[in-house]
Symmetry: C2
Subunit: 233 residues, 2 copies
């Protein structure tokens, strides 16, 4: 089990997020990589509700994950994946076609697919009550569907994006499973996501992300504080 309080690698995650975000927060990506490559890691929890000011010095947007590995600090989940794959000996050699494929698909997930997914999630979830959201939805769904169709074609009957399972699949599977309307996924991509999320390493990463949320649920914290006050009275 990669979670180890003495580990050199430390992943910063949120102590609690609302239910719709549970299992979707991006620290899932480096956790998954650590599980795949048997790299022990410890967890540092920060509040998503009141993000500490000092945290912006480590992670410029105040988001998670931030990965510390000894003296080295890495932010942006894509960069943490590259760092962990290199540490785990899981990136093909410099200059090889295999490496180029992994990095091309990794960047594709972050720059050519996720931006459409993020704006679609924004439209369907965060900003759904804004006046522009229902007007924007159809063209955005069309753009996203176009991308997904091209992705399905590129995947073809391959199991993973770059031959063997790689960090490109950690990136793309986590991007695709964030799409709030599963009907947008083609059959081939649904099967691809199912293949990725069936991996034991993904399952452990998911469980470990979710585990602290119950304890840090603000409603539970409030009840606890009230009980303590009552007991003290």
């Amino acid at each position: 089990m990669p979670i180890d309080p003495e580990a050199e690698i430390e992943i910063t995650a949120y102590e609690w997020v609302p239910s719709f975000a549970q299992g979707q927060v991006r620290d899932l990506r480096p956790r998954w990589a650590c599980e795949e490559y048997a790299l022990p890691y410890r967890v540092r929890l920060v509040s998503a509700v009141e993000r500490p000011a000092w945290y912006y010095e480590e992670q410029p947007w105040g988001q998670v994950p931030f990965v510390r590995d000894g003296d080295v600090g890495v932010f942006e989940s894509g960069a943490t994946l590259i760092h962990l794959a290199e540490k785990g000996g899981a990136l093909p050699p410099v200059g090889s076609q295999e490496r180029a494929k992994v990095l091309s698909w990794l960047l594709a997930a972050f720059n050519s697919v996720e931006p459409f997914v993020m704006e679609f999630v924004n439209c369907m979830v965060f900003s759904r009550k804004e006046d522009w959201a229902p007007l924007r939805r159809p063209s955005l769904a069309t753009a996203l569907e176009g991308r997904l169709k091209r992705l399905e074609t590129a995947l073809g009957d391959g199991e993973w994006l770059a031959g063997e399972f790689s960090i490109a699949d950690i990136a793309m599977v986590t991007v695709l499973r964030a799409i709030p309307d599963p009907a947008l996924l083609t059959a081939g991509l649904s099967a691809y996501v199912a293949r990725g999320t069936a991996r034991p390493a993904f399952q452990r990463a998911l469980e470990d992300q979710i585990a602290p949320f119950a304890e840090h649920d603000p409603r539970k914290q409030k009840a606890k504080a009230e009980n303590t006050a009552k007991e003290g009275a």
Copy 2:
């Protein structure tokens, strides 16, 4: 001069794009990297208007750039930057803080800044006549401004994002100069973009991207075809 018809590296670019896109097409990024690292490259032009069907097999979205380096094919401009930096010996050693910084900022440009810029450009340029565009613009400008303020803070009084000039700056400078409303850039970021675009390597890359557009301008092509027809009559 890195452009060399015999070079091993081949960058695919568009033969012509409309004036608002000239100087902004993403093959600028690997061109700039080749100029910085003195890597000779040749150019293959494809039509942006009628993208050849076979091209999607190399570049899943039919976009540019696609970089071929001997037997190795790379797509996504971020992946081409990593490939070229590794080839040019311009990435710090594996496991170092310097490498982590370059890769973190590279991914930040592609995943945490460019998505806001792309949607803003969409809103202000491509989709400006859509009913949702004027409604979406204010919240999008606010989100983008928030990101830029954080970026300015992170840059501080540093010259470049990761110590020495790196591919992270090639990425971030090209992202920031695509913002169609220069008033959104803070003074510090404007100075940063000016520093980047003043580099001779950038200037050469820009000139070389623009050079073929005059010859392949559809109006000129049409006039030429008419002249040929006239001469033949």
